[in-house]
């Protein structure tokens, strides 16, 4: 029973982590969107926050790399083998 609870907990955790990473991705994309042609906030705002954005930029890069296998990623998240 304890193992079952632990399993459920892990599942919820990975989903929430996923959601959080997506949010961080959106945050970085909104802030740094001007570099890829999105309407963006004033450039200096991006420049001001850039020093603290290492993690978000890594996620952004990772998302770009995974972009060609979105379906696989979605299946992974939903636990479909």
């Amino acid at each position: 029973m304890q193992g079952f609870g632990q399993g459920q907990r892990e599942k919820v955790l990975s989903l929430t982590c996923m959601e959080q990473q997506e949010l961080e991705n959106v945050f970085a994309l909104l802030l740094l969107g001007s570099f890829v042609g999105f309407p963006a906030p004033p450039t200096f705002l991006a420049v001001e926050l850039l020093p603290f954005m290492e993690r978000e930029m890594q996620i952004l890069g990772q998302r770009a790399e995974d972009a060609c296998d979105m379906l696989g990623q979605m299946m992974g998240t939903l636990g479909v083998d």
Partner: protein
């Protein structure tokens, strides 16, 4: 302390009016006049060489030219310095130089201008009774005056997302429970409390700055003076400027119609009537077309006979 922005279409005589008003005001009180226009004329009007620096004309009048390129360069160098330190590992790969392309980003000049206005108000506010800003032509002026409010809107949106992220991190932390010692060694610590998150802290600090600047610009001590000529082009641009100022909620205090002569008096009347429809009963001052240049190149451009000061004493 009063803050005045002299605005209008290029070539209408903004700088001359600003310089003359500064000269007249300085007879009785301490005045700082700052030229924000990249094509500086202030030095020419007072027949002194400023070269992006400042000069004391007399005890109560200081002239200053803002070097926009230098300001942008300084700001970016500071930021690039922080970036390079944060991402110092990139130096080993020699990638840090790519950050230098930031200097070509659009919007940096407006930001540098705004920063310079904010700094001037903060540092010199207590040393002068009036600070006069001679602004660049309409488009750029409206953009940088609107910048604090646009930025606050963006900051609010970004902060909202940031708070959601922190909220998620907090949830994860709660589900996961306390980490074991072994895990603690491996994990990367992520902030989930609002006060620990550097991004949110920076956003909030910026918001505070912009809100106080907006407060000053929209406040009772700040005013915009619109300079225009008796012609259609100048009228149309003034109308756009009035609309723009209304959008960003900045108070227009005085209209100055410059270069009025006997020949154009009828047109001048029409232009004023048109503008009145938009601005209501804001005081208007007409300044005659100067014939001073006819006296030779050494004529004093800032000494004009009209009284430019009386109307600047609006009720606070």
């Amino acid at each position: 302390m009063k803050i005045l922005f002299y605005t209008g279409k290029g070539g209408v005589g903004k700088s001359t009016m600003a310089a003359s008003a500064a000269w007249q005001l300085s007879q009785k009180s301490r005045v700082l006049i700052v030229s924000l226009d990249p094509a500086h004329n202030l030095g020419d009007i007072f027949c002194v060489s400023l070269n992006g620096k400042e000069k004391k004309m007399h005890d109560r009048l200081v002239l200053r030219e803002v070097d926009l390129h230098k300001l942008s360069r300084d700001y970016l160098e500071r930021e690039i310095g922080v970036l390079t330190r944060t991402y110092s590992y990139l130096q080993t790969l020699n990638l840090d130089r790519y950050f230098s392309v930031l200097k070509y980003s659009p919007g940096i000049e407006e930001y540098a201008l705004l920063t310079s206005i904010e700094e001037t108000i903060r540092k010199d506010g207590s040393n002068f009774d009036t600070i006069i800003f001679d602004t660049p032509p309409t488009g750029l002026t409206l953009r940088f005056l609107a910048l604090p409010q646009i930025t606050i809107t963006w900051i609010d949106r970004l902060a909202q997302i940031r708070r959601q992220i922190l909220d998620k991190r907090h949830t994860i932390q709660k589900i996961r429970g306390p980490a074991t010692d072994e895990e603690k060694k491996q994990e990367i610590k992520l902030a989930y409390d609002e006060k620990d998150d550097p991004v949110l802290n920076r956003l909030m600090a910026l918001k505070g700055n912009y809100e106080s600047l907006t407060g000053i610009l929209q406040g009772p001590d700040c005013g915009v003076v619109l300079v225009f000529n008796p012609d259609m082009l100048s009228l149309r641009e003034s109308e756009r400027l009035v609309e723009g100022l209304r959008d960003i909620n900045l108070p227009l205090r005085l209209l100055i119609q410059n270069k009025v002569s006997e020949e154009n008096r009828a047109v001048a009347g029409q232009v004023v009537a048109e503008l009145r429809k938009m601005v209501g009963d804001i005081p208007l001052l007409q300044v005659a077309l100067s014939t001073q240049l006819a006296c030779g190149l050494d004529s004093i451009l800032y000494e004009i006979p009209e009284n430019l000061v009386t109307n600047l004493n609006w009720r606070r």
